[in-house]
């Protein structure tokens, strides 16, 4: 088999995005972030730094927070991906974390918010009640340049108190 026939410039990737199976054939060089935004039209994760420091592209891959800008979509073919939009209730209304972010004014410009939300969702998924220091540790690597983080930690505390998950 020749080298050319085994490598692909375009590649078919199927992901379960927020519970819905999505298949797209797109450039093999696309990061998961670009695949989601440009091929699948899922635009809630944002491109920030491109090097894994800012967290605005955070999505959950099989439940784990990852920087979607540092993973190739082709690498995670078959995975379940959760973005902030995946935290909505079945009827389309805000989920407990999203509601708490709204109530505690945890979003200002909003650019970091999708990453903050899924990172918080992963942290709370264990079901154990987290103290403020643990919440802060979980958010380590998700940068916010507006809120000073206080309202974000408040919101996550509120969400876990209101709706243990």
């Amino acid at each position: 088999m020749s080298a050319e026939s085994r490598t692909s410039a375009e590649i078919a990737v199927t992901l379960t995005v927020n519970g819905r199976e999505v298949s797209r054939t797109a450039g093999a060089h696309l990061t998961l972030l670009r695949w989601l935004r440009e091929a699948a039209g899922v635009t809630d994760p944002k491109y920030g730094c491109g090097e894994g420091s800012c967290g605005s592209c955070t999505v959950l891959v099989d439940g784990q927070p990852v920087s979607a800008c540092l993973v190739l979509a082709a690498q995670v073919d078959g995975a379940a991906v959760t973005t902030a939009a995946g935290l909505l209730q079945a009827d389309g209304s805000l989920g407990p974390l999203q509601r708490a972010f709204q109530q505690r004014h945890a979003a200002q410009c909003g650019f970091c918010t999708p990453g903050m939300l899924v990172t918080a969702a992963a942290a709370l998924a264990g079901g154990r009640r987290l103290g403020r220091a643990e919440i802060r540790a979980a958010l380590h690597g998700n940068l916010c340049r507006c809120t000073g983080y206080g309202p974000i930690v408040d919101a996550i505390e509120l969400a876990q108190d209101e709706a243990p998950r």
Binding site: A3, R6, T7, S8, A9, I11, G27, A28, H29, T31, R34, Y47, G50, E51, G52, S53, G55, T58, Q64, P65, V66, S67, C69, L70, V71, L72, A74, Q75, T119, A138, H140, G141, N142
Partner: protein
């Protein structure tokens, strides 16, 4: 993020990946967790023509594809050395599919005084592994200090070692611990000592068609204390300086020590002068002995936007002091 398009190829085994590297030549790059390669790609600093994905090597249905040569690699000279659970596995004709070095590439196992940590083990897994915590706690302390949780969820041991960033945590502790790396080109395995493998800034002794399969790390011996300290501008940034120290105190004096620093040269460096100066010191004398060592030989810090060379040198010295104090306290507690 407007990257030049590249082609993608998934390797079913590490041996497959080595063959692909030979076939594609210079334009090929290997990706596992992607936490070092993809920042370079996103910033336009790396423009590969082909990216070879080893993140699934040895797992799942793809694994059978190239089992032949790999199966042999696992039963080579190493198997005789008593690599325990892996030793028998590589022998049968089909054994390569889920065992051999590829299965080892995802495992943390202990045998004969060594921890075997597969190249595809993530930092998060190494930081949380109970056997590693019990047998060589320096590893978990270093792995848990890397980047942020997302970096640790994807980043792999082999990726960090092969990338060879001089400020990275894992190359530093490997040098401090006297670890060696199992390297494969898919045909025959070889070993390289960490201290000789890291050659300079992002430069290692890995040939163009070789991959790191695993690291072999001596377990913490009886009576040894350990410590890992690093300082960065923001938690999660690359270290301005980092220090790993191991000390063994017996009958009230330092009888053995190993000290290494990262972020202060083009590679992680052993601080042999410090080790020699410590010999025979009582715990109370360690600080004075360190003061007696002149400018630390082997470190060549550089100035950049994060810190001046002078600050890095000073910081390194402070961290050596802290690490030695903590390691000797742990040694005393372990005795």
């Amino acid at each position: 993020m407007f990257t030049r398009p590249f082609r993608f190829e998934r390797a079913g085994t590490l041996a497959d990946a080595c063959a692909m590297l030979r076939r594609h030549g210079e334009g090929a790059k290997v990706i596992a967790g992607g936490q070092s390669l993809m920042p370079l790609v996103n910033l336009g600093l790396a423009q590969p023509e082909v990216v070879i994905d080893i993140s699934r090597a040895g797992s799942g249905p793809d694994a059978g594809a190239g089992s032949g040569p790999d199966a042999g690699a696992g039963s080579g000279p190493d198997a005789g050395a008593g690599s325990g659970p892996d030793a028998g596995a590589g022998s049968g004709p089909d054994a390569g599919a889920g065992s051999g070095p590829d299965a080892g590439a995802r495992e943390i196992s202990a045998a004969d005084g060594y921890l075997h940590i597969g190249a595809l083990v993530t930092h998060a897994r190494l930081a949380a592994d109970p056997a590693a915590a019990r047998l060589q706690p320096l590893l978990g302390a270093a792995a848990g200090s890397i980047g942020n949780p997302r970096v640790r969820n994807r980043g792999t041991l082999g990726g960090s070692l092969a990338h060879g960033d001089p400020a990275a945590e894992l190359p530093l502790v490997m040098v401090a611990l006297g670890a060696s790396y199992q390297i494969t080109d898919g045909r025959r395995p070889r070993q390289a000592r960490a201290e000789e493998f890291h050659l300079g800034y992002l430069t290692t002794g890995l040939a163009d068609d070789e991959l790191i399969a695993a690291a072999r790390v001596p377990v913490l011996g009886p009576g040894w204390g350990w410590s890992f300290h690093e300082v960065s501008r923001r938690d999660g940034d690359f270290a301005l300086a980092a220090v790993a120290a191991l000390v063994r105190i017996a009958d009230g004096i330092v009888v053995e020590s190993r000290v290494a620093a990262g972020g202060v040269a083009d590679r992680p460096v052993r601080l042999a002068d410090v080790e020699i100066a410590l010999s025979g010191a009582s715990p109370g004398e360690i600080g004075a002995r360190l003061d007696g060592v002149g400018p630390l030989r082997g470190i060549r810090p550089v100035s950049d936007t994060a810190a001046s060379a002078g600050y890095r040198a000073r910081l390194c010295r402070v961290l050596v002091g802290r690490a030695l104090a903590e390691a000797s306290a742990r040694s005393l507690a372990a005795a």
